[in-house]
Amino acid sequence: MDYKPVLPNINDNISTDSPIKEALVLLSGVVVFFLIAYGVLGLCVDWAVTRISPEMEAAIFSGFQVPSKFITEENQPGQAMLQQLTDDLRECCDVDYPVKVLIAPSETANAVALPGGTIVVFSGLFDMLRSQNGLAFVMAHELGHYKQRDHLRGMGRGIVLTALSALLTGSGSNITQLAAPGVHLTQARYSRQREAMADDQALETLVCHYGHAGGATEFFKAMGAEHDSGRLNAYFASHPEGEARIAALEKKIQDRHFDIRDVAPLPVEVISK
């Protein structure tokens, strides 16, 4: 038997396609799937949220602790006043269940509505405001979010995203760890539409409580004039387009023929020394 060696020219065992092309195709497949699943589940979240009554919410979140990054101490100056103001406003906007107000001493000027019925107000807010009406508008805005169940919507979407990635790639994987911070992002940033609806709701509440719409745009105007970049960054992360909102509010005041009268001064408890 003779030995006749020949080396094959073409190597069939490897493919000549670029691996980058394969990687991109697979990646785009995964991205498309995620987008579709996210969209579908987002719709499910919207449907489910309208069916969670405040009583259910209180039961679910009874163990919910305020995240430690919102450092709050009970009995901050002005908390009792703010709680009273919020309780009065609640009657005007049909929020039946108890809402607890906490003040967090901080440079930032913001307020956050958390699941379970807690509103955390950052004390930097008080420096931005000139009147009780302006303060009431901010609180009424947060109450508007509660009424619309926005806080549940945002959290629901974040949970859906994390759950999807944990299902496909395992809970410890890199991709899931990337998605988890997204929960915080979606919590902080409601869509423009929802913010506008909360603004409208707040305007109605303001007029109902005080009888006029004075002070409604005070907060946005003050933020617009603010030059301190530290506060601006925190603000714009969760409340984009102040100018547009001022314009929308003023238009609504005009359309509904609300009065604008003198505003009450800010209560002494919250004026910083």
Partner: protein
């Protein structure tokens, strides 16, 4: 192209041999098959999905080996051996090798 796992093709004479030829593929399962396999883990029975998957891979590996043998000018492959191993999470490498020969 003749194939056998014996030394000689029964009934034919080997005139020349050209060296070792081999074919390999790496195939992965997808999540659908994985889910069915998890169910079967509870109830038992044949994992038809996997059987098909590995059979297809084996056929493709054999095809590649035969194509290599053709390039060498052989008309048969003898002493064929198979080997399966897992080289990636959830993917199996099917490897088949033999000696390419010319018979008459």
């Amino acid at each position: 192209m003749l194939m056998t796992n014996t030394e000689e093709i029964p009934g034919k004479k080997t005139t020349a041999f050209h060296g070792v030829v081999s074919g390999s593929t790496v195939r992965a399962k997808h999540v659908g098959r994985d889910l069915m396999a998890s169910f079967k883990n509870i109830f038992g029975g044949e994992l038809k999905g996997y059987t098909e998957l590995l059979q297809e891979s084996r056929d493709q590996a054999i095809e590649r080996m035969l194509s290599q043998a053709e390039q060498m000018g052989a008309n048969a492959v003898v002493n064929i051996r198979f080997s399966t191993s897992s080289v990636a999470a959830g993917a199996a490498e099917l490897y088949v090798y033999g000696t390419a020969v010319t018979v008459e």
